[in-house]
C-alpha cells in the first residue's frame, strides 16, 4: 500500500526539528545558519516557513504521477510502490528537465559541484522499507507531520476538517492536485501564501498526461509519415523516370528516322 505524509499546520509549533532530522537522515550539514535559511536548497530538502507564527512545511510532494519521472530522459526518477519518488544519481546526465518540469519546483541542484546531483526529499525509502516512519514524522513532537497509509490519512484529514470546520480551510492540498500527491497538507491559511502553486492552476490532470498525449501518437506517426514521405519520393521520381524514358524513346525514333 502507498504511504504518505499528512502535515497539519494547525498543530505545528515551528520547532524545526523535522529540518534537523531530515538533514541528519540525508547526511547534510545543519546548524543555526542553515536553520535560519527560509528557502529549500541542495542542502535543505525541507523547510518550515513562518508567517505571523502560522507555519507551513515545504518538501517534495511525491506525486502519484510524478512529472520528474516522466520527463527524465534516462529514467533517473521513479515512483516506488510504497510512495516515495526516488532518484538514481548514477543514471543522471544533468539535463535538469526534472527541475523545469516539476510543478512544485522541488528538485534542487548542486550548482557549485563539478559532478552535480539533483537533490530533493526522497521520503526516507530505507526507513519505510524497514517499517519505520520518515525521519521528519518520527521526530515531530506534536504529530503535525504524520506518517501512514495515504487512504487512512485522507480519511483522518477529512475527519479533522469535519470536527473542527472553523480551524481549517476546507480542503486537503495534495489530495487531487496534479492527480494526487503522497504529501497532504491541512492548514488554516491558504497554502498558496507560502509559495505553493494554486490548485486551480495545477488542475487535477497528472502532469505526464500533457506530454503523454503527444508521445503516445509517435508510434503511429512514424510508419504513416514514412509511407507518405516515401510515397511522395517514389511518385516524383517515377515521373522523372517516365520522362527520361520517353525522351529516350523519342531520340531512338528520331535516330531511326535518320
Amino acid at each position: 500500500m502507498s504511504k504518505a505524509l499528512l502535515y497539519d499546520a494547525t498543530m505545528c509549533i515551528g520547532c524545526k526539528q523535522c529540518e534537523g532530522a531530515c538533514a541528519q537522515q540525508n547526511k547534510l550539514p545543519y546548524d543555526d545558519k542553515v536553520a535560519a535559511e527560509s528557502v529549500q536548497s541542495e542542502h535543505k530538502y525541507t523547510v518550515v516557513l513562518n508567517k505571523d507564527d502560522k507555519f507551513m512545511r515545504r518538501l517534495c510532494m511525491h506525486c502519484e504521477h510524478p512529472a520528474c519521472a516522466s520527463v527524465c530522459p534516462v529514467g533517473a526518477f521513479h515512483k516506488t510502490a510504497s510512495g516515495p519518488v526516488v532518484y538514481d544519481v548514477w543514471k543522471c546526465i544533468g539535463c535538469r528537465y526534472c527541475m523545469v518540469a516539476c510543478p512544485f519546483s522541488q528538485p534542487k541542484y548542486e550548482w557549485q559541484s563539478l559532478n552535480p546531483r539533483v537533490r530533493k526529499c526522497i521520503m526516507c525509502p530505507d526507513r519505510i522499507a524497514a517499517g519505520k516512519p520518515t525521519a521528519c514524522a518520527e521526530i515531530c513532537p506534536t504529530g503535525a507531520t504524520k506518517f501512514g497509509e495515504r487512504d487512512e490519512l485522507i480519511a483522518e484529514a477529512q475527519e479533522r476538517i469535519r470536527q473542527n470546520p472553523t480551524a481549517y480551510k476546507p480542503r486537503i492540498y495534495g489530495m487531487k492536485e496534479v492527480g494526487g500527491t503522497s504529501v497532504l497538507l491541512l492548514s488554516s491559511m491558504n497554502v498558496e501564501e507560502y509559495g505553493y502553486p494554486p490548485s486551480a492552476k495545477l488542475g487535477e490532470i497528472p502532469m505526464p498526461e500533457y506530454t503523454g498525449r503527444v508521445m503516445e501518437r509517435i508510434p503511429d506517426f512514424i510508419p504513416v509519415w514514412t509511407l507518405v514521405l516515401g510515397g511522395i519520393y517514389w511518385v516524383s521520381h517515377r515521373r522523372e523516370e517516365v520522362a527520361s524514358a520517353e525522351a529516350e524513346e523519342k531520340q531512338e525514333k528520331n535516330g531511326g528516322a535518320r
Partner: protein, 393 residues
C-alpha cells in the same frame, strides 16, 4: 605566407579567447560559476539559444532536401549542399552546446542505455543523434568528391532515398518535439507561449527559419566568397518563405483566438511587449516586406526579410525559454557574460567551419560549372560580335 589580420579575424580571435576562458571556468569551477542559472532558472541561455534556436537555425537542411528530392523543385538544387552543410554543422555545434549545459556531460551516453520512452527529451535526443548521422552521410559525398573517391559515393547514392526519407522523418519528429518539451509546464510557462499547439508551432517556425536561413547564408556567402548571386533561387525561396510565414501567423492567430487570448495580448504588460517584439520581427515586418513583388525580386529585400524572420523566431524561442518563466519565478533572468561568451564562441566556430568547408570542399559545385561555361560564353560572344558587326553593314 603572411596572415593578414582583418577586422573580422580579430573579432573572431577575441571571441575564441573569451570563450576558451569561459570553457575553463565551466569545467574547473562548475555551472554555478559560469552561469546565472539557479534552482529557479535551471535552464538559461544555453537551452534557450544554443539548443532551441540552434536546432531551428539548422532546419534549412531538411527543408531544402525535402523541396528538391521529394517535390522535385530542381531550381533549388544549387543550395542543397550549403543547406546540408549548415545543418550538419548546426547539429554538431548543438551537441557541443549540450556538453556545456549538461551537468554531467560525461554520462551523455546514458541516453542510449537507460532509455525512458515517456520522456520528450529522450525522443529529441535519439532523433538528434540519428539525424546527425544521416546528415553525416548526406554531407560525406562533398569530402569524397574532393578526394576523388567515386566508389563510396556510388554506395551513398544507392541509399540516398532512405537517407532523405529518414532525415525528413527525424526532423519532423524532433523539430516539433522541441516544442513538446514545454507541454508539461502548463502552470509555469506564461499563457502567451504555453499552448497545446507548441509542437505544431515549433515545426512551422523551423520551416520558416530553414528557408530564411538558406536565403541569408546564400547571400552572405555570395558576398564573402565573391560568388555570383543566384537570384532565381532566392526568389523561389522568398516566395516559399512568405507562404510559410502566413501559415505560421494564421496558426498563431488561430491559437490565441481559440484560447480567448486576443484581448490579453493587446493589453500592455511585460510579457506583451516581448510578445509584440517577436510578432513584429517574425511576422509583421517580413510578411509586409515580402508582400511587395519588388522586394521579392530584389536580393537586398530578400536578405533583409530573411534576417527579420530569423531574429523574430529567435526572439520567439527565447521568450518561450526565458521570458515566459519570469512571472512564475518572480524575477528576471539575465545570463552572465560567460554564458554569452560560450554561445558566441559556438556561433563563431560555426562561421569559421562553414568558411573552411566552402573553401576546401565542393559545396558550391556550380563554381566549377561556371568556369567551364565561361569559354563557351566567350565563344558565343566571339561569334556574336562579328554578327553584330555585320549587322551594321
Amino acid at each position: 605566407m603572411k596572415i593578414k589580420l582583418t577586422f573580422w579575424k580579430i573579432v573572431f580571435l577575441v571571441i575564441m579567447a573569451l570563450g576558451l576562458y569561459s570553457t575553463f571556468v565551466r569545467y574547473y569551477y562548475g555551472l554555478g560559476a559560469i552561469s546565472n542559472m539557479t534552482d529557479q532558472f535551471p535552464w538559461g541561455l544555453w537551452i534557450g539559444f544554443d539548443c532551441l534556436c540552434g536546432v531551428m537555425l539548422a532546419a534549412g537542411g531538411f527543408c531544402i532536401v525535402g523541396a528538391v528530392y521529394l517535390f522535385n523543385v530542381e531550381r533549388l538544387h544549387s543550395v542543397v549542399r550549403p543547406a546540408v552543410l549548415t545543418a550538419f554543422l548546426g547539429y554538431l555545434l548543438f551537441i557541443v552546446g549540450l556538453l556545456f549545459d549538461l551537468g554531467r556531460p560525461w554520462f551523455i551516453w546514458h541516453q542510449m542505455v537507460y532509455m525512458n520512452p515517456h520522456s520528450v527529451m529522450f525522443e529529441v535526443g535519439m532523433c538528434v543523434m540519428a539525424y546527425t548521422t544521416v546528415l553525416f552521410f548526406e554531407f560525406l559525398p562533398n569530402v569524397l568528391e574532393r578526394f576523388n573517391l567515386h566508389a563510396p559515393i556510388k554506395w551513398i547514392k544507392k541509399i540516398y532515398p532512405v537517407l532523405i526519407v529518414l532525415g525528413i522523418l527525424l526532423s519532423t519528429l524532433h523539430q516539433s518535439s522541441l516544442g513538446s518539451l514545454y507541454l508539461i509546464m502548463p502552470s509555469k510557462l506564461h499563457p502567451f507561449w504555453y499552448t497545446p499547439a507548441l509542437p505544431f508551432l515549433f515545426f512551422g517556425s523551423a520551416i520558416s527559419v530553414g528557408l530564411a536561413m538558406t536565403i541569408f547564408e546564400s547571400t552572405q556567402s555570395a558576398k564573402a566568397f565573391g560568388r555570383q548571386l543566384e537570384l532565381p533561387v532566392l526568389v523561389e525561396l522568398g516566395g516559399a518563405l512568405l507562404v510559410a510565414l502566413w501559415v505560421n501567423a494564421l496558426l498563431r492567430f488561430e491559437d490565441y483566438f481559440h484560447r480567448g487570448m486576443l484581448g490579453q495580448i493587446v493589453k500592455p504588460s511585460y510579457e506583451s511587449y516581448f510578445l509584440w517584439l517577436e510578432l513584429t520581427l517574425a511576422f509583421i515586418i517580413p510578411i509586409g516586406m515580402l508582400s511587395f513583388k519588388k522586394v521579392r525580386l530584389s536580393p537586398q529585400g530578400l536578405y533583409l526579410a530573411s534576417i527579420f524572420t530569423v531574429l523574430g523566431f529567435i526572439t520567439n524561442r527565447l521568450n518561450i525559454a526565458l521570458t515566459g518563466f519570469e512571472t512564475y519565478v518572480g524575477h528576471h533572468f539575465v545570463p552572465k557574460w560567460t554564458e554569452f561568451s560560450v554561445t558566441l564562441m559556438i556561433i563563431a566556430m560555426g562561421f569559421a567551419l562553414f568558411g573552411t568547408a566552402v573553401k576546401y570542399l565542393p559545396i558550391y559545385p556550380e563554381e566549377h560549372r561556371v568556369e567551364k561555361a565561361r569559354p563557351q560564353t566567350l565563344n558565343v560572344a566571339a561569334v556574336s560580335t562579328p554578327v553584330l558587326g555585320h549587322a551594321g553593314d
